[in-house]
Symmetry: C2
Subunit: 163 residues, 2 copies
């Protein structure tokens, strides 16, 4: 996968089979690109195929919140930035932004990620060296302001909830 | 697409190419199945390919919130139920649940859906006859209790936000 020099930067091109009847990238494939970007982040902190093969240490997504802001078309190359919002011994709270080639924000995703052992399928603490890498990364992100999309609740105000 | 007799029931089988390195359906393809189930719901209220072709009337997803509760494996057939939480003249607030063959909840998605004209790519009111169908459907769902996943905010309590 193509990874920029920046630790938290990832880019990918929209495939023809990801486009739906509206002529733009389907909602599911934003999530797939965000998942690839999350994988790239995880590899940088040591959560890679070798670790999975030797220890069974992996992650599952428990929850996500996505905002779709601008359409993305076939063949477009999008860039994704990742940041760590919070963590504990077994969880990562992450936030990723996807940008179009013209610089406009395409989408955001907020993720709750759990450390899981693939042999038992149970949640448990990250290995110590991974946790060390997570803590180092958390320090880098600590001073950034929180994104406005974080924790947004989906609703239609009841005053407009009629036809 | 296979649609059960029940208006809001949809089912689909997990394809091999939807499985990731964890040996289960990747997060993106839950969203794809939910999108297919949403399409089935929309077709039932008249938002189909014929309407798109003749009027440009379609929908875009603006925001979604997903909870992943249980893994789903290759070849498994999942069932999705859909319900309307709220609506106004140009928006649908929907909630869908995905169930495994053993009856366990696999995932939920909460969606904010916007009516869009594909020619202008602008948000605007649903056609009158569609809005009539939406209102009829809303009446059917009005007395059901709200799902616990609705509006849940992703967070790690700060007391555990250290390693």
């Amino acid at each position: 996968m193509p990874i920029d020099e920046n630790l938290t930067d990832f880019s990918e091109t929209v495939r023809p089979e990801w486009v739906d009847y509206n002529g733009h990238m389907n909602v599911a494939f934003y999530v797939l690109i965000f998942d690839h970007a999350t994988d790239a982040f995880l590899e940088q902190i040591g959560m890679d195929q070798n670790l999975r093969d030797t220890t069974g240490s992996s992650v599952f997504v428990a929850e996500s919140h996505i905002t779709y802001t601008n359409e993305v078309m076939e063949g477009e190359r999008v860039r994704v930035t990742s940041r760590l919002i919070a963590h504990d011994q077994k969880r990562l709270h992450m936030f990723l932004e996807m940008f179009r080639e013209d610089g406009l924000l395409a989408a955001t995703i907020e993720l709750m990620i759990l450390h899981v052992n693939l042999k038992t399928r149970k949640v448990g603490p990250f290995p110590d060296d991974i946790l060390h890498n997570v803590s180092n990364h958390a320090d880098q992100d600590a001073d950034k302001p929180l994104p406005s999309q974080l924790g947004h609740v989906i609703s239609i105000p009841s005053s407009s909830n009629k036809t």
